[in-house]
């Protein structure tokens, strides 16, 4: 297939993680012309980051679930699609027009259908000191391991969620166990989660895996502080220690790296910028874009699959990607409805199984009250240095939504465009104003969703610019 991305594609997919890769292969096999855009240099998304180049040693450390990503890549490279790595999509509209930049060159294109497969972000973890160098999201630690074979030497992992056991076990296997896990979930959380145990048993593989990881940590002698609270990163120029309360006592652990994690939430930056409908999920404490059972959003030509539509994990993302691709192929007349339904039925069934474990996990590993409602002194917006107290003060002065908050201070107006403060700001305002999260809403995200230079915008009128890095797979 020729690599000319100036013409129309049947389907443009944004994000080459499990949902995007699976959807691309599925759509290509139905005969659709597919454009796959991804910000990273290589396929895999964050979950399978650098899967193509991983060494045997790294594969052993990262484990079987990571290596499962290879099959997706193998499938994809056999397909005939146009794949553009290092493509940063900064504008997309509901009609399928897209603008993106590759190494400083801007390009625009059009597709009949667009699939957003932009995955998840880690939930913001606003605690005192979280802006110090050496404090990172736990996912960042895992990316360093996957992509660069780097492992932290004197690190603690703090927060809650099944991912922290996986990361800790990977560090153990890499020969640098974390100094401790500081876990904020309580025994009460665990017992309340039992209401969802029936669902979790349907996803029993996850429970067994979790227990296996915890066993691995115990054998390695990794200390776990459960039910910890009041986390605080300390240090002058960089993180030097984590302070927290545990069983009524103050604890202080010296360390060089603090990995924070409170679960993952859908990355809705693009779906917000496209003005798609969203709603608040009380169970997961985050906004989800509205989608139907096929991943179709509130705009008919736009689909969303994978964690970006609601957290269901890598396997769930892969299934949702395939389901959306089948629906899109039928939309465009490349598959008849009966064949499409027949192919989708087993995928839907498997996806339901993947989702079954979520309510249990959400309840057993909730985000802690400290990060859902930080103290006044805690910095909430890292870019513009706005505190939780500032946001509460705006609310008391009559600010009832995140967009008005921008008029009071600069929360959400820095380069990250609210990615690491948006949820916190919405929750703080909703709580002071005693309004629902759906009423309170979220930052209005306006394109470009990535900072651009004027040169990049000017290139859009130049027919010879762009498409430099387009690679043809297949």
């Amino acid at each position: 297939m020729s690599a000319n991305d100036r013409r129309d594609f049947d389907l443009a997919i944004i994000g080459a993680g499990p949902a995007g890769m699976a959807a691309a292969a599925q759509a290509a096999s139905a005969g659709l012309s597919v454009l796959l855009l991804d910000e990273q240099a290589r396929l895999g998304g964050q979950i399978y980051r650098d899967i193509e180049r991983t060494s045997e040693q790294r594969g052993r450390i990262l484990g079987k679930d990571y290596l499962a990503g290879r099959a997706l890549v193998d499938d994809l490279v056999k397909s005939s699609i146009t794949y553009v790595p290092q493509a940063s999509v900064w504008q997309a509209d509901q009609d399928g027009h897209l603008c993106y930049t590759v190494e400083g060159l801007a390009t625009q294109t059009k597709a009949h259908r667009v699939l957003l497969a932009t995955g998840a972000l880690e939930r913001p973890v606003p605690i005192p000191g979280w802006t110090l160098p050496g404090v990172m999201m736990a996912g960042a630690g895992q990316i360093l391991l996957k992509q660069s074979g780097l492992v932290a030497k004197r690190a603690v992992i703090a927060g809650s969620g099944p991912l922290i056991y996986l990361i800790a076990a990977q560090m153990v296997r890499a020969g640098n166990p974390p100094l401790a896990l500081i876990e904020t979930q309580t025994a009460a959380d665990f017992w309340q989660a039992q209401h969802h145990l029936a669902g979790a048993l349907r996803g029993w593989r996850y429970l067994i895996k979790g227990l296996g990881l915890i066993g691995e940590l115990r054998r390695a002698g990794v200390k776990r502080y459960r039910g910890a609270s009041d986390l605080q990163a300390e240090g002058q120029e960089r993180a030097e220690a984590l302070r927290f309360s545990h069983r009524g006592k103050q604890q202080w652990l010296a360390c060089e790296t603090i990995f924070l994690h409170m679960g993952v939430v859908p990355n809705t930056q693009l779906s917000r910028a496209m003005n798609l409908d969203h709603y608040w999920s009380a169970a997961q404490h985050c906004f989800h874009p509205k989608t139907d059972g096929w991943g179709r959003s509130s705009a008919a030509a736009i689909f969303i699959a994978g964690d970006g539509a609601g957290i269901a994990g890598a396997k769930g993302a892969e299934l949702a990607g395939r389901i959306a691709a089948l629906r899109i192929a039928a939309d465009l007349g490349r598959l008849d409805e009966a064949t499409m339904a027949q192919s989708a039925t087993p995928l839907h069934r498997e996806l339901a199984r993947e989702r079954a474990a979520r309510p249990f996990l959400d309840r057993a590993y909730p985000a802690s009250s400290q990060v859902l409602a930080p103290d006044d002194a805690t910095m909430v917006c890292r870019c513009e240095e706005v505190s939780a107290g500032d946001i509460r003060r705006y609310a008391a002065m009559g600010c009832d939504g995140p967009n008005q908050a921008k008029a009071f201070g600069r929360a959400g107006m820095g380069p990250c465009q609210g990615r690491y403060c948006g949820l916190t700001v919405s929750m703080l305002l909703a709580s002071v104003n005693q309004r629902s999260l759906d009423e309170t809403g979220y930052f209005r995200i306006r394109p470009p969703i990535k900072p651009l230079t004027l040169g990049e915008i000017a290139q859009l009128d130049d027919p010879d610019a762009g498409a430099k890095e387009v690679m043809d797979l297949g």
């Binding site: 910000e39 990273q40 240099a41 964050q46 060494s55 040693q57 790294r58 450390i61 290092q86 940063s88 972000l121 880690e122 802006t131 110090l132 160098p133 050496g134 404090v135 990172m136 999201m137 996912g139 960042a140 990316i143 360093l144 992509q147 660069s148 074979g149 780097l150 492992v151 932290a152 030497k153 004197r154 690190a155 890499a174 640098n176 120029e237 960089r238 060089e256 790296t257 990355n267 890292r382 870019c383 513009e384 240095e385 820095g414 380069p415 990250c416 990615r419 690491y420 900072p451 230079t453």
Partner: protein
Amino acid sequence: MKTASPFEYLAQPTNLVAVRFDGQTYQLPKGENLAAALLAAGVRSTRENPGSNAPRAAFCMMGACYECRVRIDGASVQACMIQVRDGLVVEKMQPIGGQSYER
């Protein structure tokens, strides 16, 4: 400032190239993610935040937080989104007059 790195490579990288950061020369693995390579080389902070001038460093490693911004060829770029190449000259982002990076 260069210190002992809080990170360790599983396997010592080869194919090192010279990269300037904040006036010092570092030998970094060619093709490696720049933010990761600087971290591994013991660089703790890559920018100071406008307002407080507080030191900041890579936080998400996935292009979302913009904490890893550095200046290359006069432009502000995310260090976690680019790769090490020979002769790269990287400047630390320091606010002008404490308020903004703009000159």
